[in-house]
Structure formats: C-alpha cells, structure tokens
Symmetry: C2
Subunit: 339 residues, 2 copies
DNA sequence: TGCAGTGCGTCATATTGCGTCGTAATTGGT
DNA sequence: ACCAATTACGACGCAATATGACGCACTGCA
C-alpha cells in the first residue's frame, strides 16, 4: 500500500470512523496507532490529533471524558450522524421495517435504530411528502389475531444473539412447563422466531439424552453470558433443522396431500398456493380437488381444521382417519351437553 | 439567527447534506443559494464551492456529470457513507429487520437499504464477533406454514405508499375475483398487511355504493400515479377501521367468550392470552375454563376450530350453535364416503 | 516525592484555502 | 452566425489556518 498523504479532512474522517459508541471509548494514542497501522503514515504529531478531537467534538458531537490524565472519546448511545439526505425509497423502507418489527426487536436494538426511524420520518415531512397521517393509514394486522403477544424480555433475546455471535456459553434460569425453575449451562445452536414467540434451540451441560432442546424465550428468567466456549454441533443448520420438523413434526411419511374444497374457499389457494406443485381440479359436484406435495405437520392439520366443513381430507388415508377421529371427538363435545 | 462563520469542514458537510441521490442532481448555483439562505452568509465565492465539490468527489464519491456548461452533482443510487462505526446492537437490529422484512419490502426500498445491511454484516465480522454462521442459526418460521407467499409485485405497494404520501389519486388496472380486469381511479385511504397478503383500502371514482373497498395488492396489474388529489375521508384512521372489523367482521354482538380447553392445550394461553382480562379456572373434570372479552370474528372461529376436540365453545350460545353446525357438516363429509 | 505521560496554551513556520484573473467551452438571443 | 453571458477550471499571490515544537500544569505510579 502506498503511503498516501492524508489531508486534514481525510484524517479527521478516518478518526471519526474509529470512534466507538458509549460503552467503548478511545484515546488519542489508540487513534495514532490506528492511523499509523491502517493508513501507514508515521509523520503525525499527537498535538494534531488532539486538535482534531476538539474539532470533532464541536462539529460532530463526539463526547469527551477526562479520566485521570487521559481523555477518552466516544459517541453517546443513540447518536447518529447523517451526511446524506435520506431519499423517499429509503425512508419508506425504514418506516415499513419499523412497523413490521418494532414489537419483535430487543430494546437495545430499537434504541440504536431510533435515530434512523426519526430521520426517515423527517425525510418524509417536507413540502412534497405528507407523512402527517402515515400512522393512520398503514397497519400490520396479524391473522392469528386473538393472541396477545407473549411478554418476553427482548433483552434476553439480545443476550442469546450475543452469545451466538461471540461463540460463548451462557447460564440461564428457566421456568419449566410444570412451573419449577432450573439453571442451565447452555450451548446455543440457534434461534427460531414463530409469530410472537421465539425459541432457543440448544443443548445444555449435563443433558441426559442426546438431541436439541427447545426453550421458549419468554420463560427465561435470567441470562448471564459466560466466558467458556459452547459445545457446537458440527454443521448445524437451522434450516435443515426446521425442514426435518424441528418445531413442527411431520405426522406421516407420505407427502401427497389430496383435499376437496368448496369452491369459494379454494379460491385463495390460487394466490397463496400450498406448494409449488399444487394441482387444482374442478369436480362435477362443484367442489375443487387440490393436490400438493407437502410435509403433513401438526400445523397443517390445525390449518385445515380451521376451514371446518369447507374442506375434506382425502389422502393420505391415515390423515383422513385422523381428521375423522378428531371430528368425532368434537361431535361428542357439542352433542353431549346439549342433549 | 446569528451569521455564523462556517469553517471549511462545516461548509463542506452542509453541502454534502444537500446533495441528492441519482435521479435528482444539484448545481453549484443551487448550493450557493442554499448556503446563503439556510446559513445566511453571503461572503462565499463560487470558486470555493467548485473546489469543495472536487474534494467531495474525491473523498465521498460524489458523482459529477458535465452537461453542457454546468456540472451536476449527485450520489449514485445505493451509495452510502458511514462515518460512524456500527455498534453490535445496531448491527443486530439491522440483521433482524432484514430477516423479518426482506420478503415484504418493495425492491426499491430493499436496494436502498442494502448498504445498511451490508455494513451491519461487516460490523459483526471482526475478530470478536463471529457472524459467519448467522444464517445458519437464526430463522423466522411462520406458523401458518403451508401457504407459499402470494406473488405480489412489491413495486405496486411502493407506488401505493407514494400515492398516500404525496396525496395523489392513482389509476390502476385490477383483476376482480371473477377474473375480469377493470380500470379504477383510486382514492387510497390506507394499506393493511395481513400475513403475506396486503390490502389497499380505498374508494374509487364512479363507485356505486358508499363505503370502503378492499383491493388485494397482488391482483393489481398496473399502477399509474395521477396528478389529481384524492377524495379523502375526513378523520380516517386505519386502526378504527380494523377495530370496527374492516377485515375481520364480528360474527356476534356479544363479546363474552367462554371456552373449555383440555389442560395441556390451554397451557399456552397463559403465555399468549386471548385478551387482557382473560380468566382461567380449572374444572373438576381436569379441563380448564377460559373466559375473555373479545370481538368474536371469523378468524377466532377459524382459530378455535384448529384445536379440534381440544376445545369446546360454551358461550355465547349462538356461537356454540354455529360451531355445532360446522362440526355436523364435517361429520357428514367424513362419514358419508367412508361408509 | 520524583518521573513519565498526558492535555492544552502559545508561538513561529509551513501549508493550505481562498479570491481574483484569464482562458476555453457552451448557451441563448437577436 | 455572432456576441454577450455564464460556467468550469488552471494559475497566482495573499491571507488564514494547520502544524510541530516547546513549556506548563496536572495525574498516576513506583
């Protein structure tokens, strides 16, 4: 790399990029070392950097704290410098992301993102764009509406992500289904988010049987990241885990599903098909036969039951029998008491 | 405002903020006008700005195009300057948002956001953080799994958002349920996204009956934003619209729902309750009675049916009868053919 | 208590920024 | 088609600013 002379501005920008946010900080010496190694130039005096810092403090709001004899420089949390005006496409992207995710993200991330959202709103609040009633015009409306979201501590989620990224074990206190609490030393393998509920996929030290355990994140009471390395499972891939039915176990081996729908109900399967190879045939009695190759899981059964008498399962035979049995059970419930 | 002398850097940053992205551009004269009006200072020469632009071109990658005798300056699309290093919380926030939303956002927004995601990945790819297998460890897994997402053109969604923000009418070609297509001049009122499907809530010119119409966005074939102003409904609020059952009509007036669950099934209602006032009582036969005040909608019925024989609807009576009728219908389906 | 290291004010010097001028190129009007 | 007006840009010289050296005050450590 050629030793390129840096002009004042370029040097100051290089410094700026090196300044971390609040919990971390940087000294003038760190900066000198960085500039010398990264931009290999040795002819810079400490005094210049000190002067640069004074300027950065004034113009960019870099904070400075004198601890002992040294000055430490850092950005306050949630600070944000935008040099470029946000375009409408970008601003819209941010606003949509905020709508979609604000109930799902950990607080710390939301706080960090807040300036971006704020800037996006500002970008759409000029003479041309009328952001004014965005809130009144756009909504996300989950289909599985009845449920209030599980009150989970998103900070625990953040800790888990950190453990994953830092490749560390962690200790957690967890409330088991029965209600007892227990401490685990956890080897996190992955995280799955399903609707409003997140699951940690992991093994733990002292586990009796082999295999991956699912922990619901909202049942975690406390997390502490440890320094030790987790026992990783070689070649773990969350997508494979899910495909093999990690959360949602296939009820049958057979994957050829055959259904008969009432026509109006079947209509929307044209728009959101069951699978890519879905077939759609009209029958003589006005109903519609739909076939698809798909893992038949508990959630498929749940989904089909939701249609009530609008759909009939034909194949696989075992699945049909299962449905029939369920319906008979329901029949008992509703006819027993009303007699 | 006091006439503040701007140092070189401050002036250059002020200029930087004024430079738009690709389709738009800016001339030196525009910049002078801006600086004089916005930072009221008149003592700057054109030559200085020209020199500043040369510097911004070199350091920040501002693009310049000489058209005729003037130079036009702009940022290329998808460019991004980051002065501040992304912290891990922020980076994580971006990565999660990408996971959650990348299938939902319009392309143009995704393109604009791409540099942020890229930067986030870079931020987690250092000696401390092991971003390496993030993709293999974190997944979003929708519960209503069977359905492939409706192939909707997210760019149409973007156009609708733009029409909303710019307060314009638009013309669209739409495929109706029957299969015929029709042109509409649309007064957009709002947008609702439900799972994988988005709906435009609007009125249109020449509408016969009063009231808001729902258009599925994936059935829109073409959109063209017009210059005319839409006929707005005073005080429209999408949340009110949804609460009053815009998408999901209440089946009954009564809101006191009473259910009896098998205990294992009821368990998770503790974590994700039906409503905030949900009551939970164990019965003598080991089952659990759950009461809640809630709009009883089609989606609630659908959700309850999904539980099959694990739940029994007690109140309201009309709802119980409705369920019973549905179950009888199902019974017929499964017993008729198997005889 | 003394030494080494840091921050910061000051001052002379070197560098850079800046306005002016001149030239080439382009545009629009008569 | 020509001229006036405007723009970009290189060159030049002066003024402003950045830079490095030095010294002083302060802090932490031995």
């Amino acid at each position: 790399m050629a030793v390129k002379e840096l002009s004042q501005i370029e040097r100051q920008l290089a410094i700026l990029r090196r300044i971390p946010t609040e919990p971390q900080k940087v000294t003038v010496n760190d900066l000198i070392e960085y500039l010398e190694s990264s931009h290999n130039l040795g002819n810079l005096s400490k005094r210049s950097i000190q002067r640069d810092m004074a300027m950065l403090e004034r113009v960019f709001g870099v904070h400075v704290k004198t601890m002992g004899r040294e000055n430490y420089y850092y950005f306050p949390q949630g600070s944000h410098i935008s040099l470029k005006k946000m375009g409408p496409d970008l601003a819209l992207g941010f606003l949509l992301m905020e709508k979609y995710t604000h109930s799902l993200l950990p607080e710390a991330s939301l706080d960090a993102l807040a300036p971006y959202f704020k800037e996006a709103k500002l970008a759409l609040k000029n003479e041309k764009y009328k952001y004014a009633d965005w809130e009144k015009r756009v909504a996300i409306y989950p289909k599985v509406y009845p449920l209030e979201p599980a009150k989970f501590n998103a900070n625990h989620l953040l800790d888990i992500y950190k453990a994953l990224l830092l490749n560390k074990q962690f200790k957690m206190n967890y409330t088991k289904k029965g209600g007892e609490t227990k401490d685990y030393i956890v080897n996190a393998q992955g995280v799955v988010q399903q609707e409003q509920v997140s699951y940690l996929i992991a093994t733990y030290d002292g586990q009796k049987a082999e295999g991956l355990i699912q922990f619901a994140i909202h049942r975690i009471n406390d997390i502490e990241i440890l320094d030790s390395q987790p026992k990783q499972i070689a070649g773990f891939d969350i997508r494979e885990y899910l495909e093999q039915g990690g959360l949602d176990i296939s009820l049958y081996q057979e994957q050829n599903l055959e259904l008969v729908f009432n026509k109006p109900t079947a209509q929307h399967l044209n728009e959101t098909p069951l699978s890519k190879d879905q077939q759609w045939t009209e029958l003589k009695d006005g109903r519609v036969r739909v076939t698809a190759t798909i893992n038949i899981t508990q959630s498929i059964k749940w989904w089909l039951l939701g249609f009530g008498d609008q759909v009939e399962v034909i194949k696989p035979k075992a699945f049909r029998d299962d449905m029939k049995k369920t319906v008979q059970g329901m029949m008992e419930l509703y006819c027993r008491n009303s007699k």
